[in-house]
Structure formats: structure tokens, C-alpha cells
Symmetry: C2
Subunit: 393 residues, 2 copies
């Protein structure tokens, strides 16, 4: 089935249980799908754009209200939508980082934070992580002191991922932010794996900015995301334009240069808005998601030789698993080589693991029902048994 010249219609989430680490929490809700159809056209949300002509002031569809609701939900003071979390990082980096400035990241920071730092001319300095793959406030303090010795000044900005993309571990952002603030370093909370998935309270975390990803964790089309700021910081990153045309003397009202004016004009924004009530609700039930995740983890860890590389017990549904001593031993002699695992999973209606991966891989059970989690658990055990691996009862 095609949806355009040479473009096969995608049916991954219709035909399979999808445990792709980055796709699981981005799947559209039914309402988002309807919104996508109704607001597909480019400038679809601009029908009722009136003065002062800025996206976040539009009342119909209720974009202005959505901005307020998201700010309240995150317990922050101001929110803008952005074309992906990365564009939120970029806006903050461009505001605070000048050429040669040190910026604090962590050894588990996502590459898009590095891109934001590089784009602004900053120099990356990573907080090291311990053997437990967690970022601690002590390590943050030590790194800041190290940066001070190296640069003669503290980092100008810190990016801290609440849940990192490599292990899905939870890091103590509140304590790290407290340390950073002792050095007057503004803190960006990277909530790409949390905002839309579990409750996030910006004020309780004590961060200056909260960044969320629409397409990663808010059941929204790509590219979409949000950037939230405290009242103290909003006038910095969301400052309005000051440039003027020298001939026409034109000025550009309340447009914000870091946002490049308006941000998400159509399907991305309305998709995010349509999913929002469902997303808000689902964050209150993250315990159920974790319970389902543990059903799958228990099964995986019952396969001898399998180890969990993420913190354990799991506090997030995205996990890094090591099957070098289990599934990978089969790959050596299997006629499908390393592809047998993916193939056996697909036969059971499961997808989302990197094809050929049998050593170290990640998966995310977010959004699965209990029944689906049990099916996943059963599938892993069955495939292990079929291939002669030992499964503990």
C-alpha cells in the first residue's frame, strides 16, 4: 500500500507491538490522529491569527490556552512550542553561551545538546558518571570546580538530562541544579524522556528551563516540543525583537528572535494539543507502565546470561540490556546470524529492536497494556528456549 510515489504506507504501529526506544511514547493518540487530518495544511492554525500576530496568542484553535496549561502542568511560568527539544536547547544556548564559554553537560548527555553548545560556540565539559551510570551532585560540584580552574570561571549554562537516552537512568536533577545555582549557572532540564511520560514539576526540581519533546514523549507529530522557563528567565530567552530596518524603520513587534517568530504553525502543534489531555492523564499512571516494564524485565533476566545495564530495579520504561552471554551466543551459529532475534520477534508481532542486535540493545515498553507486556515476556522466553538457552523458572 502506497501513500505517494515510491512511499510505502507505514503500518508499524498498526501491525506490531513496537518497543523502539525512541518511538514508544511518541505514538499519536486517536485525537492527535484526527487533528493531523483536520489540520494537515501548512498554516492551518493561522485562520484566526489576530493582532499582536504571534502563534501563542491565537485563541481558536485554543493555542493560547494550551500554552498556559502546559506551563501550569510543568509548574513553570512561561512556555513556547519549538520544532523539537533540540530547538529548545538551541534557543537557550544562543541566549547564554558565547564563543569559548564552557558549558556543563554530562557523560550521558544527548548529542543534540552538544549540537546546541557547538552552534553557540561553547566548549563542552562533561560531568563524569560512576560505575552505576548516574550523575551525582558531588560529581557536578567537582566538575564545576575543575572548569573554574581550567577557564578561570564557572560554566555559563548546564544541561542535565533527567532520564538519559543511553540507560534510561534517573538522575537527581534537583540536587544537581542546587549545586549549579550556587555558581549562578542556569540549568536546562532535558525532559525528552519524562515530559509527557511521568510527572514533572519544574519548581520542585528548581530548574530554570524545562525542555520536552513532542514526538518523543508527548504523542505528537514531529518536529515538536516545548521550552518552559521560570519568570526570572523568560525575559532572557523569550526576549522580544530589537532589530530595526534602517530604511523602512520597521520593527517586528513582539516576535521573539530565539523562537524565529512563530514556531509550529499546523499539524505538529494541533497534534500536540489534541494529545495533551491524554498525555496529562497518562503521566499520573506511570506506575502501571513500570509494572508492565517489570513483567518484561523479569522475563528477560530469567534468561541465563542476560544482564540489565541500566539501574535496577527500573524506574523508567526504556532500558539497556546486555545479551552477549545469552541471545548473542545463538547468533554465532544461527543461519539468520544476529537477525534471528528480530525475525523471531516479528513472527510474534513485535518490532522496534535494531535489526541484527543481539549484544547490547535498548527497548521501551511505554504504552503497552498488561496483556501486551505478558506477550512480550512470553516471546523473549520462548525464543530463548527454542534456541537452547537456559531459562530460570
Amino acid at each position: 500500500m502506497r501513500c505517494g510515489q515510491g512511499i510505502e504506507a507505514r503500518q508499524v504501529d498498526e501491525l506490531f507491538i513496537n518497543i523502539d526506544p525512541i518511538q514508544a511514547a511518541g505514538r499519536l493518540t486517536g485525537d492527535a490522529m484526527k487533528a493531523v487530518i483536520a489540520y494537515g495544511d501548512g498554516y492551518s492554525v493561522c485562520d484566526n491569527c489576530r493582532k499582536p500576530n504571534r502563534l501563542d496568542y491565537i485563541a481558536k484553535p485554543p493555542i493560547a490556552e494550551f500554552h498556559k496549561d502546559v506551563a501550569k502542568w510543568l509548574n513553570m511560568d512561561a512556555v513556547r512550542t519549538v520544532p523539537g527539544a533540540r530547538r529548545g536547547f538551541q534557543a537557550v544556548a544562543q541566549t547564554y553561551v558565547k564563543k569559548g564559554d564552557p558549558v556543563l553537560l554530562t557523560s550521558l548527555s544527548h548529542y543534540t545538546e552538544f549540537m546546541a553548545v557547538e552552534g553557540a560556540g561553547g566548549i563542552a565539559r562533561e560531568i563524569p558518571v560512576g560505575d552505576d551510570k548516574r550523575v551525582t551532585p558531588d560529581a557536578a560540584a567537582a566538575k564545576i570546580e575543575e572548569v573554574k580552574r581550567e577557564f578561570g570561571r564557572a560554566p555559563v549554562l548546564a544541561f542535565i538530562d533527567h532520564v538519559d537516552y543511553q540507560y534510561g537512568n534517573i538522575h537527581d536533577v534537583a540536587a544537581i541544579a542546587k549545586v549549579a545555582h550556587q555558581y549562578d549557572i542556569p540549568v536546562v532540564y532535558n525532559g525528552a524522556y519524562t515530559v509527557g511520560v511521568m510527572p514533572v514539576d519544574g519548581k520542585a526540581l528548581g530548574v530554570d528551563f524545562v525542555v520536552g519533546s513532542g514526538h518523543k514523549s508527548m504523542a505528537a507529530p514531529a518536529p515538536s516540543g516545548i521550552l518552559a522557563a521560570t519568570a526570572e528567565r523568560e525575559n532572557e530567552v523569550f526576549r522580544t525583537t530589537a532589530i530595526e530596518g534602517d530604511v523602512t524603520k520597521r520593527r517586528f513587534g513582539i516576535k521573539e528572535p530565539e523562537m524565529m517568530g512563530c514556531t509550529l504553525m499546523g499539524v505538529t502543534l494541533v497534534g500536540m494539543m489534541a494529545s495533551f489531555p491524554h498525555v496529562k492523564e497518562r503521566t499520573l499512571h506511570f506506575d502501571r507502565e513500570l509494572a508492565n516494564h517489570h513483567v518484561v524485565m523479569d522475563a528477560l533476566l530469567s534468561i541465563e546470561g542476560t544482564t540489565c545495564m541500566s539501574e535496577y530495579p527500573r524506574k523508567h520504561t526504556m532500558t539497556r540490556i546486555n545479551t552477549i552471554e545469552s541471545f548473542d551466543t545463538v547468533a554465532e551459529t544461527h543461519k539468520k546470524r544476529g537477525y534471528y532475534l528480530q525475525s523471531a520477534l516479528e513472527e510474534r508481532g513485535i518490532t522496534g529492536i535494531i535489526p541484527g542486535a543481539t549484544k547490547i540493545w535498548k527497548f521501551n515498553t511505554y504504552g503497552t497494556t498488561k496483556k501486551q507486556a505478558e506477550h512480550l515476556a512470553g516471546a523473549f522466553v520462548e525464543i530463548a528456549r527454542e534456541n537452547g538457552l537456559t531459562v530460570r523458572e
Copy 2:
């Protein structure tokens, strides 16, 4: 009909002939609509992302091929997709403009170009336009000389809109680019109103960059667009990342900092791709669009007191019209005040004019059929007559 809590389903382009100046050429094609449904989920295009893990290398759906096709179509050497034309401007500005650098714009430049210049710390210098509202190479040369006197150096970058957003006039980009190149100024061609609407040949124009808007003129969802570069410039704006993690020694492969890594992960990109064959074809028939536009223009100009503020005869389907001496004279006494015009148009199945506007307004007939153009023409004349305005036969 709702498509989510508090969100009315939009039916503007289903129920009306829409002559909104910015929406007309962004309406999705049937294939784009299908693609939007099939690829609604966030990371939908990433199912088959393999090493080197960059969006424009993905073969299925045929994203890599699309990038090559667009480059060829524009007669440029390299193309990337971006979340809106403005993000293309931003990438180029961040590459060439440093704090305090003068940047050449025009008195008709779009505000997003100013945002890009401001974000990079540049200073805007506008080429003035004559009474005919056109930017000439002579005026460009004079302005560059003026900037040299003021700053002691030429502008570091020039943004030239081929068709401006204010009048829809066509400006002689090729001649202006020639002048700019005499001063070694790289030229960004703003094709927000041309790429996807009429043929664009980057090499013939002699520009360094071509920027197009997916949601304005390529029948794609928002935010989307393209940034094309010549072989000479591609390694500058599309340079790969050089940043490194000091602890982990991580580097980030061939990710491009000005693109913030990958750009359009889902619905926006596939929508643009699905529309592309149709968009390519339609640019070959811009003459038909102009013929239809002239049917409407003839009708409007037959209403006594109405004048065309854009260049005339029209060379683009987006036009600025002055009805102060015609439709606006009715508004003074009409019980609906200035809203009567919009109201009368809507009764006839026409929408897209700013509500209440009867003085100076813009409209775009792009994509109307001959029959629709005749209906539009008839509607304007009929409304004029009904309200006692004189219509020349």
C-alpha cells in the same frame, strides 16, 4: 465537529475557495494527506535508519533520493530539509554573521530574515525600493557602497526575496546576486513564494543558497522547508560537528550543528515528499495560475476606484490591492461595517481575506481552477454592484 478536547476540526479548505495569501500554495495534495495519516507518529521515518544515522541518508522511505531530487530540481548541489524556511535563514546567518556584522536585506524582506540576522548578532541594512516597489541591482550596489562607508567593510551576507511577501513583486535576483558577488557577499535566495510554485534554477540565478518553504509553497505540513547550497558553500553551512566530550571523548559523526542533527523526522518530511512529484509538475504550469489570477484581477480592477498596488500586469498570484476608493466607501455606512466584504464573500463560498479589511489587502489565487477563478471574479463584481459601486463593463 471536534478533533480533540476543545479543538474544532478545521474545514476551511473543504468548504471554501481559500485565497489567503500565505495558505494557498501550502494546501496538502491528496498524496500528502495520505502520507500524513501513514506517517503521523513522531519518529515514523526512523524505522530504517542505519549507519551513518542521519536523516538524509535514510533509504526507506526514500528520503535520500528525495534530497538528491530536490537538489537537481533546483539546480543546486546539496539540500537539507529544515523546520520552515526561517530555520534555513537561521542556519546560514549563524554560519556567516558575527556580532556587529552588517547584513544586506531589502525594504521588502520578510521578518524571519530579520530574526535570523538578529539571532546571529548582525545589523540589518536594507536596500531601498523605488516607487515601483522593486529591488534593483543599482540600488543594491549603492547600498553596499553605503555599508562599506559606514562599517569599513561590505555586508557579510545578503538575503534577497525573489517574490516579496508585501506586494508579490518579482525582483531581479540574478542581477542583484551578480552585484553582491563582486563584493564576495554570499547570497541567500528566499524562495518562500517561488520554490514549489514556479520554476527555480539556482545556478541560473547565481545564488549561493536557495531557501524554500514546505508549508507556504510546497503543499507540505508545517513546519517544513528546504535549504539548498552550491558545492562551494555546502561545506560551510553543512559542515559536520567538531565538538567532543572531554570525559567520554565522544564525537558525533556526520551530524551537522547548523541542522541540529536530524531535522524533520516524520509527518512534515513525508508530507513534503509525497507532494513533491505534484509540486514539480505544477511549477511547469505557472502560466495557467497567472491566467486565472488575471481573470480575478480584471474583475477587481473593473470596480471603479480599485487599484493594484503590486506590479502590473501581475507575474505572481499573490497581490496587494487597494480598495479604499471602492469597497471601503461602503464600509462607512454598511451595518456590518468593514466586515460586510468578508461576510459577502463567505456567503459565496470564498474565504481567506482578513476579516474587516476593506482598505488594503492581499490575496492569492494559487491553485484555483479556471471555474473557481471565474466564480471569484463574479463574486467581487456582484458584491460591488449590490453595494452600489460602479463597475466598468
